[in-house]
Every structure is written in C-alpha cells, then in structure tokens.
Symmetry: C2
Subunit: 172 residues, 2 copies
Amino acid sequence: MTTRWLSSDQQRAWRSFLLGTTLLMERLDRDLRDKHDLSLPEYEILVRLSESPEWALRMAELADAVKNSRSRITHTIARLERTGLVERRQCPSDGRGVFAHLTDAGYRKLSDAAHEHVESVRQALVDVVADDDLVAIGRAFEAVADTLETGTPDPVLSAKVTHSSAEAAQPA
Amino acid sequence: MTTRWLSSDQQRAWRSFLLGTTLLMERLDRDLRDKHDLSLPEYEILVRLSESPEWALRMAELADAVKNSRSRITHTIARLERTGLVERRQCPSDGRGVFAHLTDAGYRKLSDAAHEHVESVRQALVDVVADDDLVAIGRAFEAVADTLETGTPDPVLSAKVTHSSAEAAQPA
DNA sequence: CTCAAGTAGTTGAAGATTCAACTGATAGGC
DNA sequence: GCCTATCAGTTGAATCTTCAACTACTTGAG
C-alpha cells in the first residue's frame, strides 16, 4: 500500500505536539531537579507508592505503573534507597518478590515537591490551554493509551469514522 | 498563596496525557530502532537537516530546532557521522562554526524510515483520535510551546478566561 | 590595534537508561 | 518428590545524556 502521508493540518498539529511536549516535560523535570533534587521519573515513582496501600508496591507492579523496564526500576529504586526516600522489603509470601516501600522522608519529600510541581503543570499547561482543549487531550490520549496497551483501539472510544485522507505533505 | 490542586477532571486528563505520550513516544522510538536502527531523536535531526537549504544546518541551529543541548548535538552528530548519515563541514564565514550536512546515505535512510514512521504516527495517534481532538491538541501545544519559549503566553492564542478553579484532588 | 567579553562548539567524566545474561524461587506435570 | 518451564528481580557492560570545564574564534569598546 502506498504511504498515507499526513495532511498539512495533521502535520502542523503533530509538530506542535512534539515541540510542546518536549518543552513541557523538560520544564517539569528541570523544576523538580532544581527545587527538589528529583527527576520527573523519580517523582512519578514516589507518587505511585504514596497512592498504594501501605505505601508499598512490588517492583514489577511499580515498573508497569510508570511504564519503566524492570531493570530501570531496579536501578532507580537503588538510587532512591541510597537517598533514603524508599526502602526495599522482602515479600513474605513469594521468595522472589521485593516491595518498594516509601519512607517517611520520601513522603515528606513528595509532599513538598507536589505543591510546586502542580504549579508548574498549571503554568505550563492547564492554565494556558482552553478547558475544552484539556478535555480533548485527556480523551485523545486515553484512546492512544488504550490502543497501544491492548494492541487494538477500544471499540467504545473509537466511534470515529475513518474517512481519511488528503494527499500532499512532507515526510515527517 | 495556597496551592491550587488540579480538579479531578484535570487530574484525569493530565494522567491520561502522561500515560499516552509515554507509550506513544516509546512506540515510535522502538519502531524506528527495530526497523531502521535510528532513535527518534536521531530521526528528528535527519528531518531538520533534510528540510534545510543545502541539507545543512549550523550545530547551534540544529540544537535549537530539536531542543537538544549543544553538547548533546555534538555527541549525536558524532555518532551519525560514524555511521555515515551526516558529515561535519567547517563554516567558511565563521571560523568557530560547523555545519552538519546530511549525506546521500542519510537522505536515503530518512526516506526509507519516513514511510513506516508516518504509519506508526497514524496507527498510534492520528487514526485513533477524532479529527477535532487532533486539532485541539495542535492548538493546545502551540500555546504551551509559546508559553515556555517566550516566558509569557501568546496574547492572541490565550484568549482564554482564566476563571479557575475547583478544590479537591490529590497531589500528582 | 588591543583587549575583554561573549559566542560556537568540543571534551571527558559522571549519571541515567538499555540490553542481554544471570540468579534464585515458584509452579505444574507426571 | 522431581524436573522443567516460567517468573521476579538483579547485574554489569554498552550506550546515551548531562554537566562543567575548556579551546578557539569573533566582536566591539577604547
């Protein structure tokens, strides 16, 4: 089949998205690093742990939750353990299992960081974008996530007529 | 001032966005690596070069275009040079300057990769999302990029009434 | 002209991520 | 019970990114 390039509108939207998210993520990461000595990925790990019963999650569950490889989680948790924000605990029921457990210091660090982080998210995204557009973003990326996680688009969400599409357009 | 947490709708949208983009970028990167031995950042560099007059760009311009640090561009171009996709050329008018120049092999590699890459972008995003939502995404991240690049939101784009906002909500 | 300040790019070490190989434990099948 | 396949997590090397110097060149003030 011949390649269906993007229409120039689609192309523009895609490029804006790429640029915007790049800058957005970089900003959030930098703010966290500068003010709290946390990377964005580390922050996300602390969030997941703080939301879990007992402040603990099995390594693999944590890896899944933040979409990291298991190896990466092992390395990152090792770092967070060194700085005292997280503790490793043997799983009693499964000899192979390990829990990552948020410490009090970790919870305090997260609580501190959360204020400024949310403020960053607002300043860079939420307060800059129309309410409807934020809703659209939520809806759209929910569909994207469903598609990529299940292999097929969620049939309920994808009630979209795929009547595409223009020719024209460059390769990127 | 007391922290303005996100409303639960905003929170849900934000989390969907985080998850969706994480999976999306990972997928695009993986597809390029598996099929063309290119990372997404490398692909983006080749795209910029291919769109430039003479297929060449000064190192700093290139760094700006793809939002990489200068150091990172130096390293990445060194790698791309080793694989023969890019050449370095001294700038005649400025003794400090260096051009990164796309080679024929680089152009061929890019042309090959572009087909499947666009297909990936379609399958994972464009074809999965309502047309209006893609438009909203484009508009929204243009505003985000403007805000982050200039320090202030573009006054034209931000014709938004900032009448926020609910209480409630968790820290992330 | 000369010098100080700034710009373009590079360098190498430190830190983070990926990858493939590995250890140790569990779960079935028989 | 035992043996194999699988699962959970770790390890260390290779790769990529960041960070803080550093070199070399250009610019502009005087």
